[in-house]
């Protein structure tokens, strides 16, 4: 900054000389002079021009810069940074699936890789130029010459430094004088004080302090402990005019926020609660029992056609309502319906097959043996800890009334989730129909196969194919 001070207060002692500077009006004169100086053997030379003069590098003997190489390295660094960053963050450290895209490096990584390559290269080109040129440099002896102000306007200067090994004050003056310069001056040391003026230092200090304040406040808030309530910038967001479940209110006489159903109205879906088609049991025949759940469960296994119940291990069922503390809990006895509410025709069978293979086969397998793909994969991963899906052909399932199978599909059981949201009741019944067909096919004999289709069996020595295809044509009704 000292270059703009007037240079009147030159001290008594002779300032140090840096070299000679010649001024030209025209870049061609400059080039001619530069060649002359170069041919005289001087290497510590420089030209100052208002724009890049072409040919000056050759005229002065300036070597090419290594900047492109530095930039190339920076570009590859940027590329590597981008790819590593994306792999590390999204493919390794914090993996999560987004629209089924693979982890790691994918086509989606390319845009950012490109941008960071450019970012690194561009900044390196700029900062490298600054650094190689040793900028910023505010105090420079060349500025001591007032004529030098025109170096950025319309004049061209040639400078021979005193540090050159062939430098001789008189001979350089003579050499430059012979190139017809407009002016020839000796470059002298800048003798103006190089310290910043007091007010500027103060202003800078103030700026630094002011700049630190927000950071300190944030730091204090993050690290400190305070019992004072937080400051609510967005009051209407923090305190919204609404009530949550179980809260009290003064609007209603009973003081409850949650409102009971208005008499004489039916809520959405409520009508279905009375229809066996949606439930799998007939609610009008619902009774309550004091029997223990296991006894009750066994009784439920007894089909209506009077076949003897089969002893099965107790299973849990979440059909309890209310929570009675006595030792003998009262549970509802579910009167499962035993007759399919849909017709056992080919259309329904097809729907059942399609839906079974879509939703059920993943775990239960195409044949219903509990050997679906999920099971195979989980079994391989869990190495023995995996509880396999129930086979649909064990007696516990095959003896269940159709209503209970429907209920399982609707509400889920154990690990199995509810499929009520994915399948319509009709589709669920179709699946029940299909499951019944699957189960029936396990106990089929040759009489069940239509005469005209029996030749199919002859070609294949295997008696029964577990694949469900073989049961397609079997006429099945529920008991």
């Amino acid at each position: 900054m000292s270059e703009h001070k007037p240079r009147k207060s030159i001290e008594k002692k002779m300032p140090k000389a840096f070299g000679w500077m010649a001024e030209y009006q025209d870049e061609n004169n400059l080039l001619a002079a530069a060649r002359k100086v170069r041919d005289s053997g001087y290497t510590k030379t420089d030209a100052f021009t208002p724009f890049p003069v072409h040919g000056i590098d050759e005229a002065l003997g300036i070597k090419p810069t290594i900047l492109p190489f530095i930039v190339l390295c920076a570009g590859f660094t940027g590329l590597a940074t981008a790819l590593l960053m994306q792999w590390w963050t999204n493919g390794f450290d914090y993996k999560y699936i987004i629209s089924g895209k693979p982890f790691g490096i994918t086509p989606a990584s390319i845009p950012i890789a490109f941008e960071l390559t450019v970012l690194f290269s561009a900044f390196t080109a700029f900062l490298g130029m600054i650094a190689l040129n040793s900028l910023p440099k505010f105090s420079n002896p060349v500025f001591t010459n007032p004529r030098f102000d025109r170096a950025t306007n319309d004049r061209f200067f040639l400078f021979v430094e005193a540090t050159d090994k062939y430098y001789n004050r008189e001979s350089v003056k003579e050499l430059l004088g012979g190139t017809h310069p407009d002016s020839l001056d000796e470059v002298l040391e800048d003798t103006t004080p190089s310290t910043l003026p007091q007010p500027i230092i103060l202003a800078l200090l103030l700026l630094v302090v002011a700049g630190l304040i927000p950071g300190m406040i944030i730091l204090n808030m993050r690290a400190g402990f305070s019992t004072a309530p937080r400051f609510h910038v967005f009051f209407d967001m923090d305190f919204q005019p609404k009530k949550k479940a179980q809260q009290q209110t003064t609007i209603f006489v009973d003081g409850r926020t949650m409102r009971p159903q208005v008499a004489g109205t039916i809520a959405r879906g409520q009508l279905e609660e009375q229809d066996p088609f949606y439930l799998g049991y007939d609610p009008s025949k619902l009774t309550m029992s004091n029997d223990s759940p296991s006894v009750l469960f066994v009784s439920l296994q007894t089909p209506a056609d009077g076949k003897p119940p089969i002893a099965v291990p107790p299973a849990t069922k979440d059909e309890k309502t209310g929570g009675q503390p006595p030792a003998t809990p009262v549970v509802p006895v579910l009167p499962w319906i035993v007759k399919l509410p849909i017709e056992a025709n080919e259309d329904n069978m097809k729907v059942g097959k399609l839906k079974f293979e879509t939703y059920c086969s993943a775990c239960h397998g195409y044949g219903g043996y509990g050997d679906g793909l999920v099971h195979k994969r989980a079994d391989a991963l869990a190495q023995g800890y995996w509880l396999p899906p129930t086979s649909l052909h064990i007696d516990r399932v095959s003896k269940q009334p159709v209503g209970q199978i429907f209920n399982t599909i609707t509400k889920g059981q154990g690990k199995m989730a509810s499929y009520a949201s994915s399948l319509t009741p009709k589709e669920r019944w179709s699946i029940v129909l299909y499951v019944r067909a699957l189960q029936r096919s396990r106990n089929a004999n040759i009489d069940d196969v239509p005469v005209e289709s029996r030749f199919l069996l002859d070609e294949d020595p295997k008696p029964v194919d577990p694949k469900p295809e073989s049961t397609n044509s079997v006429e099945v009704t529920s008991k």
Partner: protein, 414 residues
């Protein structure tokens, strides 16, 4: 213009002219052998359906490979006049001769039209009997747009546009050789703007018709730009090799300078990048949206043995030429640049194969060798046509008013 030049130094080398018939017959032999190889290797027993498919696809890919150079040349000429470029004046005539091969190359498209009218659907599935088409999408297109009649009309229209444009520009250029009238340059400048728009439209639709409709289910709006970018890249590669070969034969020594090689090298580099940009844009949009109507096109290219080939295009068509042509030193060295250009010529053939061949069937060794031989054959035929066109034409437009500019400019820094 007081440029002293030796008239013989701007003529096509005598040795080339002498070799032209040999090159032509070699080309025909290569083409026939290649196609026969394709055909024999894919015909199984008495079933020639697959063989015919392979044969026609290979022919189309190789035809468009050499034809794309002429499209690049035509665009180059148009854009040089549009931008009033001076630097290219001394190499422009070579591009003009290249674009004048279009009428001959148009004849090579006739077999495809004949095949359409013979009722074959081996190349263009939409040419099958509508009753045989399971796919209703193609059937509804095929009734009107992709019918053999309309397709032929459009093809004739494209060729007419290109041939008329090329010959008009060529005629004026030759007239200027005689008269040196600057008005002839102004006239071409004036019409280059509208013609470039017609060119853009016709190239885009030609790409849709000839290349994209071999898979009539598939569609991509960027496809025309994709084909255009590859063509420009191939054109600059060919120009570099042509200039080097001519100089090696002692021609155009002082008229094509290192600066021209440098500039063409930059364009080559630029179009390698532009092609990559367009190819990546098409890929990433289809990959990301993951809509089956579009993704199957890439799936075809990742199955049937094409997987390695398709991934290879990244290396062949982008990484190798990109790294090789990045250096200023290489772009200013004639031999090194021509080496890079030769690689790019191969990469362009690779790209054409990538676009067309997977639709013909799985990748197998012998059919691919046949396809490659066919490509070499096409290139030879093209060279012979070029030599024929160049005979009797000065290789540099010596009385172009901007020629002094082309001979004296220097690349600043890059």
């Amino acid at each position: 213009m007081n440029l002293n030049y030796d008239k013989a130094s701007i003529e096509i080398p005598e040795s080339w002219r002498a070799k032209a018939p040999i090159i032509l017959s070699a080309g025909l032999i290569f083409l026939v052998v290649g196609m026969a190889c394709c055909f024999m290797a894919t015909s199984k027993g008495g079933d020639y359906t697959q063989a015919l498919k392979y044969l026609t696809h290979s022919y189309l890919a190789n035809f468009f490979y050499v034809f794309s150079f002429t499209l690049g040349a035509l665009f180059f000429i148009l854009v040089q006049f549009l931008t009033r470029a001076g630097w290219s004046s001394s190499i422009r005539r070579l591009a003009e001769i290249l674009m004048m091969t279009i009428p001959y190359l148009a004849l090579l498209f006739v077999p495809i039209l004949v095949m359409l009218f013979a009722g074959s659907s081996a190349l263009y599935g939409w040419n099958a009997d509508p009753k045989d088409m399971e796919n209703s999408v193609i059937a509804s297109k095929a009734t009107f747009f992709l019918s053999k009649e309309f397709f032929t009309i459009r093809t004739i229209a494209y060729f007419t546009i290109w041939i008329l444009t090329a010959s008009w520009f060529f005629r004026l250029s030759r007239q200027q050789d005689e008269s040196g009238d600057t008005e002839l340059s102004s006239l071409r400048q004036k019409w280059s703007g509208p013609l470039i728009m017609v060119f853009a439209l016709s190239v885009s639709f030609a790409a849709f018709d000839w290349l994209m409709s071999i898979d009539a289910d598939w569609y991509s709006t960027i496809f025309g730009v994709y084909v255009f970018s590859g063509s420009m890249m191939g054109f600059f590669a060919l120009m570099i090799i042509l200039c080097m070969l001519l100089q090696n034969a002692g021609k155009v020594q002082k008229l094509v300078t290192v600066e021209h090689f440098h500039d063409m090298g930059k364009f080559l580099f630029g179009f390698v990048m532009f092609w990559s940009y367009i190819a990546f844009s098409q890929l990433v949009l289809i990959w990301y949206a993951n809509i089956p109507e579009e993704t199957f096109w890439y799936q075809v290219r990742l199955e049937g043995g094409w997987k390695a080939f398709s991934y290879g295009i990244i290396l062949v068509h982008f990484i190798i030429p990109f790294l090789f042509l990045m250096s200023r030193h290489i772009r200013r060295s004639r031999t090194l640049l021509a080496t890079g250009a030769a690689w790019v010529l191969f990469a362009h053939w690779y790209d054409m194969t990538f676009l067309v061949m997977p639709n013909a069937g799985s990748a197998e060794f012998f059919p691919m060798v046949g396809h490659l031989l066919g490509g070499v054959g096409m290139l030879c035929i093209f060279s012979a046509i070029f030599i024929q066109r160049a005979t009797g034409v000065p290789l540099v437009a010596m009385r172009d008013p901007r020629l002094p500019e082309a001979l004296s400019y220097a690349n600043p820094i890059l």
